[in-house]
């Protein structure tokens, strides 16, 4: 039986407020509450809540035959808890149907997987804990920030016990191969790799509302007919996209919700496909071959590489300065600092510093609070410098307290002698 595997990404960063250098040392709150709340609330109303409602109805209607998966970043969950608790509840209702799988990722939607194994694992565990606590089940399948993946990342998540991992079906990796099969890690053959079918995914995520597209308007009927045109041998269609596709990027008025509503009906009517979650897919299908990915790939832009986050000098500088603090973080036990440490790692901060000028610029501009990459860099560095000052202070305090403690112990032991 052939499989359609649906996965939707939900992520929101904690956007930084304008933070001037003269705030350094005076202001330890970095976030733009107003913007964050406004954006989260808007997307909750435009997308998360109405889409969740539709998906819940579809799951009930199709009595367990319609299945989906989500990955929700920790920073998105934290913001839902702050600004839109109703969104959490609606995801919990979906979780109760047992037709929904929640995937693992790094808590802060960070790029740490490219930098440090220990810190990476910590963040993945922190995220898994949160998902288990909210939705009752520990993730078994992993997807890294922006589908960034390489053999090395596969190695780390295999080590953590994940059974499968999702990434982009990038043309430069696949060559003549098709993304429509299950693959496995070249060394850890137990780790399955699911590859995004970017053509069919992007038809919905990017082209749906494009009236200049030859296929516009796209109906569920037409879309499903394309699934039938796929080579009979091929087994899996992985449709991976941002959840904001539904109602935010593609507007309700253009008919994205009715598309979603009629998609499963059309699939059942026209095809022999069934819906499976990523974990079920990884169990049900046999991997056809190893997939070897030496250099990290991602699902971003034309290049499917890291250049959107680590493409220019500004991004590298900020990234290196951030992770230069990781040794010191080990010595820190201040909860507020540790939380900031998470939030400052979110990949979006680096994305805002991107200087690529191409059609992708539009996507980069979305939700971007900065006028240009330089403004993003300046603001981030100011915040990071303040954070670094505070971290140093906290560690100094720790040391002096420890030495005080040691002194007291010595004194007491002397007295005892």
């Amino acid at each position: 039986m052939k499989t359609i595997c649906l996965y939707f990404q939900i992520h929101q960063p904690f956007r930084l407020k304008p933070y001037r250098f003269f705030d350094m040392g005076h202001d330890d709150y970095y976030y733009d509450d107003y913007n964050n709340e406004t954006i989260v609330r808007r997307i909750a109303d435009n997308c998360y809540l109405p889409s969740n409602k539709i998906l819940l109805e579809l799951i009930k209607k199709h009595k367990g035959n319609f299945k989906i998966s989500f990955s929700i970043s920790g920073t998105a969950i934290d913001q839902f808890q702050l600004y839109a608790p109703d969104v959490i509840e609606s995801f919990q209702k979906l979780a109760e149907t047992n037709c929904v799988e929640f995937l693992g990722e790094t808590y802060a939607h960070s790029l740490v997987g490219l930098k440090d194994e220990n810190e990476f694992k910590k963040q993945v565990i922190k995220h898994s804990d949160k998902i288990e606590q909210l939705f009752g089940k520990r993730p078994q399948v992993f997807r890294n920030t922006e589908l960034i993946y390489s053999n090395q990342i596969g190695h780390m998540v295999d080590d953590m016990g994940f059974k499968a991992v999702l990434t982009e079906g990038a043309q430069n990796i696949l060559g003549w191969k098709s993304p429509n099969y299950l693959y496995h890690h070249p060394v850890h053959s137990n780790l399955k790799v699911l590859l995004k079918n970017y053509k069919l995914s992007d038809d919905i995520a990017f082209r749906f509302s494009n009236i200049n597209w030859s296929q516009w308007p796209l109906t569920a009927k037409k879309y499903v007919s394309w699934l039938n045109e796929i080579n009979k041998e091929e087994e899996i269609i992985n449709l991976f996209m941002d959840y904001e596709t539904f109602g935010e990027h593609q507007k309700k008025e253009i008919g994205i919700f009715s598309f979603l509503q009629s998609l499963p009906d059309e699939v059942f009517k026209q095809t022999s496909f069934s819906f499976k979650t990523p974990f079920e897919t990884s169990l049900h299908h046999k991997p056809i071959a190893p997939i070897n990915i030496e250099t990290p790939i991602s699902w971003a832009d034309e290049n499917r590489d890291l250049s959107a986050w680590l493409g220019n000098e500004l991004q590298h500088e900020a990234f290196n300065k951030l992770y230069a603090l990781k040794e010191k973080i080990q010595l820190c036990n201040d909860n507020k600092l540790l939380l900031n440490w998470q939030y400052l790692q979110t990949s979006d901060h680096f994305y805002y510093m991107c200087t690529k000028h191409c059609s992708d610029g539009d996507v980069h501009a979305y939700f971007n609070p900065y006028e240009n990459p330089y403004a993003a860099f300046m603001n981030y560095m100011n915040v990071l410098n303040d954070f670094s000052i505070r971290l140093n202070k906290a560690i100094e305090n720790n040391k002096s307290q420890t030495s005080k403690h040691e002194k007291t112990v010595k004194q007491l032991s002397c007295e005892l002698v």
């Binding site: 003269f22 006028e371 300046m378």
Partner: protein, 429 residues
Amino acid sequence: MKVLMFGWEFPPHISGGLGTACYGLTKGLSCIKDLDILFVVPKTHGDEEENKMKLIGASDVSVLKRELDVKAFKKTIEYLEVKSKLMPYVDPEDFKHQTGYTVEEAGAFLKTDDQGKIPFSGKYGNNLLTEIANYSVVAKVISEDHNFDIIHAHDWLTYPAGIAAKQASGKPLVIHVHATDFDRSGGKVNPVVYDIEKKGMEAADSIITVSNLTRKIVIEKYGISPEKVSTIYNAVEPLVDEGKMLKKGFDEKIVTFLGRITMQKGPEYFIEAANKVLNKMDNVRFVMAGSGDMMKKMIHQVAELGISDKFHFTGFLKGDDVFDMLKMSDVYIMPSVSEPFGISPLEAMQANVPVIISHQSGVAEMLKHAIKTDYWDVDAMADAIHSLINYPVMSKMFKTRGKSEVTSIKWESSARKVYNLYKETLIAN
């Protein structure tokens, strides 16, 4: 196609932005094969060429005709110098030097600043208007004596000349707005100047503005129909010789404001930003290079803030000193309140200096590798200065990317757009 162009000064007598723009554009146009230019300029320099001038037509104004063979040009252009006391702008001392007149005498016609603003005190006004009228009479005579297809007039002092030429020849008129009186006066518009500007715009078949900022002013403040107003950005002459590196006599970073110290340029915002930076850090010095009517007030402001040990005034800089000042600088800042275009940040970028410019400048519309803030947002300005000094990677990136960006801004491509506009204007007529 032949253009009758009413322009301004040519090398070696260029004294500011308008002259630079006129020269650059003409040079760019000279690269276009089937385009010829008849260039007319008011000539005030009382030098040796005066005796070569001849009287033309019925007017008692002398005109010198010569073939101008500027090395940089792709071809020679016809060049007419009209004896007139009109000048685009002039520094009082400079003016004395060039003409031998005393400032008081010259002031009778043209005590103007860099944007051509004339402080009308009533008693001078009529003389200037007479001068403008005389110039347009000459324009009429010239247009009767020559063949051409289209007329191009640069900035308000030449609009009446353009109109006169249009009336005499029936050829279409393009006017080029390098600035309006709204920029020069900070909103306190001189009604006489406004009137001349508005008449020019209304008579024109097409209007070129140097930025969308200026385009908006032309449409909104002068009530001109948007269809006939097009923005064509200025460019910058490529750097011929980068010269040798200059060694500073101290380690501190230098942040430079370079321009006229007038209200339009926003010097007081620069001082406020400098003060904010100096409150937080020490290894930096600020320089205000230039002169202008607000200079004394600025010196007082600096003294009052108690930052005189770190804030320096150079006075008016000439020629190579300007470029040397740029080369010594680590940051260039232009906090203009209203700047139709602003070529000088481009020159700073050529000298490898990162630039901070205000959103209220036309050049901000086209530049990618510049930090942009509002002129009044001294916090953002201070923050940008701090970042450029403290985050070296940023400064480095600005230098390399800024340099390659500025290298790609060529007069040839501006000229090509102007040429296309000529063609459209001719078709529409």
